[in-house]
Amino acid sequence: VTDKTILVIDDEYGIADLLQFALEDANYRVLTAPNGKMGLAAAQQHHPHLILLDVMMPIMDGPATLRALKADETLRDIPVVMMSSIDEARVAQLCQGFVVFVRKPFNLDALLGLVEKTMDG
């Protein structure tokens, strides 16, 4: 296991689990949260190296979570990959220009490649 931690914030049953299995297989340490509020708390507590963030979620959705992350100076530099079934342009609009994006349903190899690339900088 690497010393890199990834936080997956997604409400849908199966998706967070699937990502956790795949990322752990790729030697990452993985944390999951079912909504933005819990995800934000986990980020504040663990300071992950990357966050995979769903757009549509209860309690606190992806765009609101992203705004909260960017407003927190201890978290704003953590790279975030947005995930959604809605298209990239719409997500970019909702996230005020944010562009690191993966469309659901995703291809795991492509997602892992994107994770690696984003983490590397």
């Binding site: 409400d11 849908e12 049953y13 199966g14 998706i15 079912p34 909504n35 757009v55 549509m56 979620m57 209860p58 309690i59 959705d61 959604s84 079934s85 809605i86 298209d87 719409r90 909702l94 659901k104 349903p105």
Partner: protein
Amino acid sequence: MSPQVTKLERLSTGVPGLDRILDGGLVRGGVHLLQGVPGAGKTVLSNQMCFAHVAAGGRALYTTLLAETSAHMMQHISTLSFFDASAVPAALSYISAYSAMKTALKDVVKLLSSELRSKKPALLIIDGLAIANVSFGPVEVKEFIHELQLAGEAYGCTTLILSTGAQGSYQPELTMVDGIITLQRTLHGTRSLREVEVQKMRGSNAVFGRHSMVITGSGVTVYPRLEALLGDPNAVPAPAGQPLGTGVPRLDRMLGGGLPPSSTTMRLGPSGSGKTTIGLHFLAQSTVEEPGLLLGFYEGPSRLARKAKDLGLPFQELVDAGALTLMCFPPTEQILDDLGARLLETLHKQKTMRLFIDGLDGFELATPDRHRVIPFFTALANELRIMGVTTLFTSETPQTIGMKIEVPFAGTSGLAENIILLHWLQSRARLHRLLSITKVRDSEFDLSVHEYSITGQGIVVAEDSTGARALLSGESADVDGGGP
């Protein structure tokens, strides 16, 4: 003084035909159950409601418990014309409440209450109740529904819960909800038909029972059972006006002047007896002021126009002038109530006065339930009378030769005010056509049997019944050379 009755406020579903059977839509603020086996159309129907609601300026929330992922669902829904990507997620959000449900159903209500408060949807879909029934006891499920009702009332949100149902076993939610809509898919021979049934709808005059439903690229369309909605005999006005000519002068005289206005006439006869030809004569009398419409099942518009032309009837000219409309529905894979709805829509639009339906059996083939044909057609005929349309329809008898007439559907004769019988009669190695009238509304009519023929100028009815009398008494030698 009669007590004042309050009608429950409704939320339109936006699904064609569905509001009609729900008495206006879902009960606003109520909790409803939409159940059906996998593939019955629950997901399409509920998504269509959401998109219709947001298109009308509202907000909706689609929540899954343990169902397909929203990404998977949206891939499918995006192929349907009602899908609007720009509505998601601002006006319509898809969320999962499964994590909350893993602890307690109460936590789902807590999560949903929070969502109702923040997102303010007026329509909430909860997809996948079956898993709650498996994971929790009946009391917890009832509490869940009760709390949803309270939350819905508090936030002005109408809820629709999707479930596969549980045939034969106790479903606690059934006793709690305000409405139950069931989707079914049944196989009739090799044909698969969809139906929607309103089983419960509190405080409304819903049209209970089953109704046809189709799913196309536009989503769901519901076809309410025509006989359950239309054709109230009390609404049929007293007949007024002059008889309408059939286009066959001798037949008009036999009828006592023509067909009574706003009446329904049945032409009953075997194949080849000229049932369609008489109908073409009738429609050839159409004018721009009194337009006509032909509904056929077997012959297309161009073939009918050609047939009319061969009889010297100017169909194409009438069509071009807007005096005549030709509609043809192949008798395969039709939906009975769709046929009725499309016919009535065209009649209203064209302000039709003369209608010729070429083949009652076209309606029979459009339903797997043969017993529906007579109630359906009775309602349709009453509606046509209310609209002031004079209708002529044909029905084919099973026997081909002889004076004995067998009605193909029990009760057919009761729905027509006028009945014209056509016969084939064989005499001395030659076939003869005979015509008789057995019923004309409020009119004296010719009781004698007449011979008729089909010529290049159309139907020609013998002036008197001499030939027919000779044929029927066996003295046909004179007739062989002396027909009309």
